[in-house]
Symmetry: C2
Subunit: 562 residues, 2 copies
């Protein structure tokens, strides 16, 4: 950055590249709305006041807010690649994202981190990374990689790394698990994100004493306030599944509590939802609807996050800050009429599509040969069956007699479910039964399966299930639907088996088609055919799961014999 | 820090070292006052709630605030060494100071920085350093050192360095002076303190665009608000001379502006004043008297500063934070009844007196031999005379005829003033006349002379003035008073010629004695005999000054022929 040029432009000795004339500027420092022109040069704001420039845009009193900050996001959940995701965020005013590449790291480990950080440097959005702290998430499954403190430290001083990603292993923290404390120690001079649902009392004290700075898991106002009081920055989540904003912000409005330590995030938000309403723009809009002062809502979505993560030139429309700005027609409705990133209109910024990924991330489907008996489950008197609950990702542990099982298989309420390790061809696999998925005939399979992302398959016959695995390998990962040995639906997700490399416009209809096909084949319409499936292998959510290592009873935290 | 121990103590699996029972805790995050016990182990707060410990103090509902932060202080102005100063601050609740060793660096350069940073590591107080950006302060005098960007960078990553100290050369910034921009560039990833009295409009935009983050020179509410809006942290100064708090805080109270970007400092405060009322404790108390909410006043004096300077474990009574705490009986009166530093009561902490300083800092009086005619001023028709103004450090430029001068010398209203370069025996020296100092007979001299700290002497005869220089050399710097060739008063300040090495209890009566002696010899009682003298050589304050290079007219920014 050429300071002399910034200084001279501020003084109007040189002409600014761009001046936004007659703006109503949201001043996040004083919580005021102030009228003025905004002068920009070299992508940096250099003047607020009266300015004229090479290029001028008359705003006629429209509002200008700082670019929004999405403080905790897993890009993988959008199922598009970072370079595609970034453009979708920017359209709605998000100019900074703080991502935890936890999913792709579980597949690709150090290669994934290297690739993501390379991409982060190239993207027009401010793309920051919190290094995933929990790869693998649990010891009850095989992921594609194990990342310990020494490996994470390799990336610690990368300019796009802000710290350590969400420490989901709260039990490990509280029990002073050595591998966990090694990671916390390694990042004690950086930001460490937390993840402590229902964390409270002395356990919360312990978790915070270990140096964990943020949490985005609060589901009530009371939980949020306890965490705030403990010194955490509370990141209010409003994603596709986790929707905590109304609960928390209603309490904030009612109680008038200081908002300076609140931040906004989406965590996981699907592309279709982002296209409809944006991310942080939506959090701000919804907060205003709930009665929060618009300027405070904007502070939460901008400067507050920048302060928590130590981002110096981000989160304000002020001299010396990046010219990342959102032009808003109607403050109550948060109508975004233009977005500027580094002083350029986002609508004129071309997506960076020359990004390349390592071969290892692009051919991730590698399972040991499966014999025709791979998914055979021996006959027994009693079976542990995964019970799907409509509209939920928690499951119910059902015990069935042999007769009940057979009746269920016959009437279609019960199907077989299998998980196959797909990273290192270790041969680990497991199978059991699932109730409530609702497929009539054939198999549905996915390589998106939290958090280790092995193959998960549901079917009524082993042959289609085996075929599904082969087809996933052929398409390089993604979703497939098989019927009588034929592939009747597919969605390739070649980037780690998690993300498409297509544009959003191409991807969305493809996704829509494969979901419709699954419903057409009888999948329960009260669940998402693939997202629900992707959570069946996550051995931390009650009550029962299946991983490549076996059937896992989350309530007793142990494997079940089938 | 042993995280396992912190965690286990938070959980009460291990007993805390100390528990403060039944406190009313100032929560700076939520701006609440909350009742609870505070558990401390290894000098760190690990629990808020119900705790029992090895040692317990019953607080019976007394208030507990975080240790105060003095965000901008020149320790040299206290005239005691850092190890003595630290204890004086701590007694009144300041547990963190952010210092700019600008004065001692002007004397000792890199040696001074090295010594100060060594001492900083040993002191019980959190002693942070902003590296002096303006050594020398001006090109119109000879200081003991020149510190350029390359030299400052040597210390940049020292754990006690937070950034670059106050950039007083605002003209240099606005004119893109290369040596100034080199320093700003070198510290662009750290905090850069500002110093821009009356900075406003496009010039302020330029100054802020250059990356300068703070300012402590605001003298009115309006000036403060303009700087806040520009994104600066506004440090409200209340020292011995600069008293800006009432103006600014009254405006804050009246207008109800957001206080999150205000910080407190003293800049320069004399030891006697500190002993009487403390530093930040006094700023907080006075703010409360002016109507500011006590919790907000405490936030300004604690967490706000910690955030601006990126201090992670400082500024809050919360888990994971240093156990730096102030126990307050009466919140309105800010009655400090106990102070804890790292969990230890300050009254039980011994001062660190085994500090040692480099020989170069301890024998700093080095001037070229002075002949008996050293201070002779040739007879002329007209003289440029420095006019002292009572109670001010600005001066008036007086032009006197030969007759007027002689009359003034005869009636005692005019005396001779000289400055002698004392760092490198360069032989630079200058002499002129001064009106209003008021000495009857003899000479008064000091090695404290902002900012280059050469010798400054006032006298009615050259012989006593020459003797004063020799005596200053003998005592290793400080203050002397000479009468008819005899030393009738002295105050040794051997640390750089600026600071005593004695304890505060020894030092204060010595200082008192020498000041009283000066008044007894006829020095004008509306000025401080030594502090006023120390500003006569500062060539940035209007209207006229004397440096070792000559008589300097600040209004025309040029030397005057005498």
């Amino acid at each position: 950055m050429n300071k002399e040029k910034l200084i001279n432009t501020a003084l109007m000795k040189e002409q600014p590249d761009l001046v936004l004339k007659n703006a109503n500027i949201i001043n996040v420092f004083t919580a005021e709305i102030l009228h003025g022109d905004i002068a920009v040069t070299d992508g940096v704001i250099v003047g607020i006041g009266e300015y004229s420039g090479k290029d001028e845009k008359e705003l006629d009193g429209k509002y200008v807010a700082p670019g929004f900050v999405n403080a905790h996001v897993h890009v993988e959940s959008s199922m598009v690649a970072p370079e595609v995701y970034a453009m979708e965020e920017m359209k709605w005013g998000t100019t900074t994202i703080i991502t935890d590449p936890h999913e792709i790291a579980n597949v690709g480990g150090m290669t994934a981190l290297s690739d993501i950080l390379n991409v982060a440097e190239k993207l027009p959005i401010n793309y920051y990374v919190m290094l995933p702290s929990c790869v693998p998430s649990t010891p009850f499954e095989h992921s594609g990689a194990v990342l310990n403190a020494e490996e994470l430290k390799v990336w610690k001083d990368h300019p796009h790394v802000l710290g350590l990603g969400e420490m989901m292993n709260s039990v490990g923290v509280i029990n002073s698990d050595k591998t966990v404390l090694d990671k916390l120690d390694a990042f004690s001079d950086k930001v460490v994100d937390g993840h402590f649902p229902m964390g409270s009392g002395k356990e919360l004290n312990a978790y915070v004493s270990a140096g964990i700075a943020t949490d985005h898991e609060s589901i009530s106002y009371e939980e949020a306030v306890e965490k705030l009081r403990a010194g955490m920055a509370v990141i209010i989540r409003e994603g596709s599944a986790g929707k905590n904003l109304e609960e928390i912000v209603s309490g904030v409005v009612k109680n008038g509590i200081d908002t300076s330590r609140f931040v906004f995030c989406t965590d996981d938000k699907h592309l279709a939802d982002i296209r409809k309403e944006g991310t942080i723009r939506y959090n701000i809009k919804k907060s205003i609807e709930l009665g929060l002062d618009p300027v405070k809502a904007i502070q939460i979505g901008t400067i507050n996050a920048a302060r928590v993560y130590g981002l110096k030139q981000i989160g304000a429309v002020a001299c010396g800050y990046k010219a990342d700005m959102v032009v808003i027609d109607d403050l109550q409705e948060m109508t975004v009429s233009a977005v500027y990133k580094d002083g350029k209109e986002v609508s004129e910024i071309k997506s960076v599509l020359e990004v390349s990924y390592d071969e290892k991330l692009l051919s991730p489907i590698n399972f040991a040969p499966l014999g025709s008996d791979a998914f055979v489950i021996p006959e027994k008197d009693r079976y542990s069956v995964i019970g799907i609950i409509d509209h939920q990702i928690i499951t119910k542990k059902i015990t069935m007699s042999n007769a009940e099982l057979k009746a269920g298989l016959a009437d279609g309420s019960v199907r077989k479910i299998a998980v196959v390790e797909r990273h290192k061809a270790t041969g680990f696999r497991a199978a059991t039964y699932i109730k409530g998925y609702g497929l009539k005939h054939g198999a549905v399979a996915s390589t998106v399966a939290h958090d280790s992302h092995n193959i998960v398959i549901v079917g009524d016959n082993d042959s289609d299930m085996l075929k599904a695995c082969d087809e996933l390998k052929r398409i390089g990962g993604g979703y497939v639907i098989i019927e009588d040995g034929k592939t009747v639906g597919e969605l390739p997700l070649p980037l780690g088996g998690l993300m498409s490399l297509k544009s959003a416009d191409e991807f969305i209809p493809e996704l829509d088609t494969v979901i419709k096909k699954a419903y057409a084949m009888g999948v329960n319409k009260n669940i998402d055919p693939f997202i629900t499936l992707s959570f069946m292998a996550l051995p931390v959510i009650p009550e029962i799961r299946i991983t490549d290592c076996g059937i896992f009873d989350v309530t007793s935290f142990s494997f079940v014999k089938n």
